[in-house]
């Protein structure tokens, strides 16, 4: 349909490059008799001695040079973009974004299962945050770098974004948030609105302060981390919460946590209830025995 519209305004792809279809197909390896095999259009400057070249095929992409179009053609292409291209394609994107957008498109179906459980219960403004963090977790699990994109999440959502991302990567969406909501549903079987309201209160508090978890930053000094953990545990005891989970990634961070545990135990009376570590990651669950 798009090709027909382009043709109707004088942008006939084979004619525009002045080569007959079979020859072009041979040169480009693209069977232009079946234009459906073309998988994209890119708007870009075409450097050419022949200034009449306004459209060409690169691999499976039709490249259109807007500067080479006549005024009328430009106007018609703009109308096409507004009325047909954007509505039919869903988005017009800078080519540099394609690796990320394509990776997201590949990941989205797998993210739906967990996302669909959380979307009805988290604040609507956090839904894009949820998808971004699930996407990052998937990349992290595939040993791909995530620091830049995590920084983008923090830039958009601040500390809440950092906390959500950490909680998501550590599996708390499945092991804590959803079980909490299910428990609330069981407690208030006739009042789902109340269950959700209570959940949202917990959720907001957890994202703000991470009261029962500490994600140890690479840049944090050991003394500061110790103070932070001890402070959290003392506040938690006042609220009846007698545990805290510590997560750290990276060899130096693992060593940092191992070294500060004795001090934390001494200051809080906590014991190590669970310790799971290797060279690059550590998880410690500290619990304070009942008096």
């Amino acid at each position: 349909m798009l090709w027909e519209k382009l043709k109707a305004i004088g942008i006939n792809i084979p004619k525009a490059i002045g080569i007959n279809i079979p020859k072009l197909s041979k040169i480009t390896g693209v069977d232009l008799s079946k234009l459906s095999s073309i998988n994209g259009i890119r708007f870009s400057s075409l450097i050419s001695i022949d200034r009449s070249v306004k459209v060409k095929i690169e691999n499976s992409t039709v490249v259109i040079d807007p500067q080479a179009l006549s005024r009328r053609e430009r106007h018609e292409v703009i109308l096409l973009l507004q009325k047909h291209v954007l509505p039919e394609a869903g988005a017009i994107l800078h080519e540099n974004t394609l690796p990320t957008v394509n990776a997201a498109l590949e990941a989205l179906p797998d993210l739906q299962e967990i996302a669909s459980k959380l979307i009805p219960i988290i604040p609507p403004e956090d839904i894009p945050l949820l998808y971004a963090c699930l996407f990052l977790r998937r990349k992290f699990q595939e040993n791909m770098p995530v620091d830049t994109q995590k920084g983008e999440i923090v830039r958009v959502y601040g500390n809440r974004g950092r906390h959500f991302s950490n909680l998501c990567s550590a599996g708390y969406l499945e092991t804590w948030f959803l079980p909490l909501y299910e428990e609330l549903q069981r407690s208030f079987p006739d009042d789902p609105a109340r269950a959700r309201a209570i959940f949202r209160k917990f959720y907001a508090n957890i994202l703000k302060d991470l009261p029962w978890t500490e994600f140890v930053s690479t840049w944090a000094a050991p003394k500061k981390v110790t103070q932070h953990i001890v402070g959290k545990m003392k506040r938690n005891i006042e609220l009846g919460v007698r545990y805290l989970n510590i997560h750290a990634l990276g060899a130096s961070n693992v060593k940092k946590v191992v070294r500060l545990l004795a001090d934390v135990e001494k200051q809080t009376g906590a014991i190590i209830a669970k310790l799971d570590q290797d060279k690059t990651r550590i998880f410690v669950r500290l619990e304070i025995p009942p008096p």
Partner: protein
Amino acid sequence: MSFRITFDDSARDFILSAFGKTSRDGFIVEQCNTKQRVLNPRGEDIPTDEFAGIRKGSTIFVKSDIVSLIEAAQAIEAQP
């Protein structure tokens, strides 16, 4: 892979102008009122070097951060 419509830096101004926008003093602005910056759905202005494109839904201008790009991917995914 579904159909992709893309542009590069050389065609950025054309894409912006096609939707009534332009770049001024490092930000995307309205073509008809260059003092008025274009905002994304989160209410943030869009530095020209962070302009990542346009997505469907009342013509939404996209920044290049991961949150915005996943929303753009969802707009593409929603196409029949």
